[in-house]
Subunit: 184 residues, 3 copies
């Protein structure tokens, strides 16, 4: 099976990058290039003013192009449900999902395993996963931040293994970690 | 127009990388390979002993090869002026410029837009922009640091879009994000 | 001399990456693919419970495949000694070694120079060096952390220059900074 048909990628895609690296914009271009009715699965919970502003700015920028679903915790179930009616689902973002799970004292490794199983079983829906790369700075003083970095890094490894394409986004531009360079 | 002529790159270049990644040394090699009289536009203000030491070490290493111009704030204007007498200008670095603007409570997004306009209009002078990638660690506790990360990331995206070549420097070696691998 | 023979790399290898990026697992695959009796030179000192747990998890995962040597400080000497009996030595990791040297107030730049000399002289033993990329976040408030970042970055540049292959590992997958993509 070709990974690219008429410039459109098939298989799940993992889009990694730093803060304001342009990873969500890249994921949105990939999603709308492939589907006329993609879903946007947002894991953000707007708990403070800064987050309210960020979430609202993101929502405005994609209105009309995506059907938005908000689910801070039950991501595998929400993905499974959305796959019944959408051929492409953008998940933004995994790191916020992990943060939400941690704050509820859920077993993150277990949840990531479930997510991987659901993704592996989704053959007719393409999932584009967006996540923050957070492990390239100095070791944080805060123990919870260290745990979070470890869980995010482990999740990225597990998900990259089952994705057809993995990108590391720098300054709005994708670097190919696995698979094909996207035709944008 | 060819991007590479006799191994020398044309068009503006953005050199991104972490602390002590070797990004300035790479930018210096690119500048001196292309021009016999390049300018070095330094945005650093040596406000404490640590900075005095860093700035002085950098100056010593490039003495004789570059005409040094120091401008912590009015970068677009300084670039425009330097372009009257230099065919290659190395700007080191954008993240310090953004820090300086923030400390003066200037509108960083506006200033970056002006910089982009000036760069787009400079057809006969090649500008090599050096900047720190700072968005790949844990979210900082400090609100100002979060604002800075966002502004730096947004600036990198905007500048990468108008540069012909973008590099992500790791351990002194360039990884190509956009354009051609440099012939060093 | 070919860098790759039957898919097996020759020359020293530098494996860089963030926390839980999968860099040690990649280095272990490279080592066991090339040698039936590789050595594992661990620089970790298990000084607290968190480290004890990490070190013990790593040891369990490589038992039987590697001869483990523990040396927190005298890395060049330990490498030289191990090279008498091993054709491949995995060093995990340089950033911990630098931390250990700093805590003993040793001259890190001198020690790195000695390491480079020893590596350059080791023609019959392949060394695979694992190190954390720590310079891509916000400048730390802590002066010691800033010193550490600078020393680690300078060491990576110096070591990358004498290694045949340099990888930047993202989500368990190597991006080639220098040399050949590994056949895993």
């Amino acid at each position: 099976m070709s990974l690219v048909e008429d410039g459109v990628l098939s298989g799940h895609i993992l889009v990694l990058g730093g803060t304001r690296s342009g990873k969500t914009a890249l994921a949105e271009r990939l999603a709308t290039r492939k589907s006329s009715a993609p879903a946007y699965l947002a894991t953000a919970e707007a708990l403070d003013d800064e987050m309210v502003e960020r979430v609202s700015a993101h929502q405005k920028s994609r209105s009309g192009r995506f059907a938005t679903i908000e689910e801070p915790l039950e991501l595998p179930q929400a993905l499974f449900a959305a796959a019944q009616t959408h051929d492409v689902i953008l998940v933004d973002c995994l790191t916020l999902w992990i943060t939400n799970l941690l704050s509820m004292e859920r077993d993150v490794a277990d949840e990531v395993d479930t997510l991987v199983e659901v993704l592996a079983a989704m053959k007719d829906t393409q999932v584009i996963l967006v996540s923050n790369e957070v492990g390239l700075g100095i070791v944080p003083d805060n123990a919870l931040a260290r745990t979070f970095r470890d869980l995010a890094g482990a999740a990225h490894q597990e998900l990259a293994a089952i994705c057809e394409h993995v990108y590391f986004v720098v300054a709005g531009l994708p670097m190919v970690v696995k698979g094909q360079y996207p035709d944008l």
